[in-house]
Symmetry: C2
């Protein structure tokens, strides 16, 4: 039975998509069967894996709106054991289309139930907001992984996100846990980077993961080749840090 992890933070540009692609690929490299769902209308996780969002007639919007079975939307990637369900621009409309429907928050959870037994992990890339798409992901998820960019504004958003998670726990998904807070784009040259990590460890020590993702230009270049960093520059600090993250999570779940 797959563990479903939503990668979410309403602050923009903190490394959600980069974490989804490289964590999912690292788990696949370590032998796990992984499905990555691109739940952001921007389609960055889709294009970061070498697919063209606009060209994919199979996508998560079709399944979410009930137009086609989710099993048919699953596509292979160039990475063994890693599959993807692409995003599509129509997903932008889903937020408005779902507002006045029954069980609007449970749509993703109910479509995922029929495929959970085919994977070890399902990773969901969320958009930078706390709207209905993100709520659907948090309701469908077993846990939430929170990338935290080591810069000033990123700290501000964490408390809003934790309030939202508590709300979801109290109402729609009592079982959701915090998988962890993942420091990203850590840069020793930036005074704020160290302050952010100290600050978050002060208030949320039990949730901060061991692994820290450094700012590393290879992570930024890899998506332009449509590949996870492991297949672009296997020895870079970025690649190594995401393999380390995969190991840390697999050990925590006693999967390794």
């Amino acid at each position: 039975m797959a563990r479903v992890i939503a990668v979410s933070n309403q602050k923009g540009g903190v490394g959600k998509t980069t974490t989804c692609i490289n964590l999912a690929a690292s788990m696949a490299i370590l032998g796990k069967e992984v499905l990555l769902i691109d739940f952001d209308p921007q389609g960055n996780a889709t294009s970061g894996l070498g697919l063209v969002p606009g060209d994919c007639d199979k996508n998560i919007y079709m399944a979410l709106m009930g137009d086609a079975p989710i099993q048919q939307q699953i596509q292979p990637t160039t990475v063994k054991r890693l599959s993807v369900i692409p995003s599509n621009i129509d997903l932008t409309g889903a937020e408005v289309e779902l507002v006045n429907t029954e069980n609007r928050e449970m749509r993703l959870k109910s479509v995922l139930s029929s495929i959970k037994d085919r994977f070890d992990y399902i990773i969901i890339d969320c958009p930078p907001s706390l709207g209905l798409l993100t709520v659907n992901s948090l309701v469908a998820a077993d846990s939430i992984l929170i990338p935290l960019q080591c810069e000033y504004y990123a700290m501000e958003g964490i408390s809003q996100l934790l309030v939202t998670i508590n709300l979801i726990q109290d109402t729609l998904n009592p079982d959701i846990q915090i998988e962890g807070i993942l420091p990203t784009m850590f840069d020793v040259r930036n005074n704020i980077s160290k302050q952010v990590i100290e600050e978050v460890k002060l208030h949320l020590k039990e949730h901060v993961l061991e692994t820290v993702i450094p700012r590393n230009v290879r992570l930024c270049e890899a998506p332009s080749f449509g590949k996870p960093a492991f297949f672009y520059d296997r020895t870079s600090r970025g690649t190594v840090s995401y393999l380390q993250l995969a190991k840390e999570l697999l050990e925590k779940h006693q999967q390794i």
Copy 2:
């Protein structure tokens, strides 16, 4: 009569808030009366100017929902000639609250009309999405300034944004212009940076601004002191590039 500029791009973390704060401050330094509106529930523009979003009983949400006159929400900042209307977490709810109301896209435009004669410029910081808050900004605006991070994923979102702008021009705001595409976080060490600028000049040459904002750690550190970069490190490349941007726009509008 103020010129209203919406700073918008649904891609997260591209420098919208950093551009709003430093462009507004630079225009004020050059003698213009400027109002900055924080239209993002995250409240980053509010805190980047030294205010605490949760503490501000005056905010744009009150005005938008008609609970209080917009004139009363205007607050001074530490920068002469720069005023701000803070954001507030309730703004997250506005998207859902407004969905089923009359003229839901025109709310911001109608509340702004009573204060436009008090300023030379009104700058609106938008959230990373194309939802109702961003649509309200694009309907209220005379022009849109598009920060474009010089990294791979940022290019992908531009075409979606241009489609949305055309839609707004055809329906809700025929007069909206593109103020310009502003390259941000340009880093000579990153191969992609030059490619992004070449690519965008190839397709959208007439809209790309002269000014390029470099990746500069001072721009990243300044908000933790609640100040625009000019008042944190006056000689840094980041500070100078935003003064240059202000000059370029004022010259374009024959305001200098």
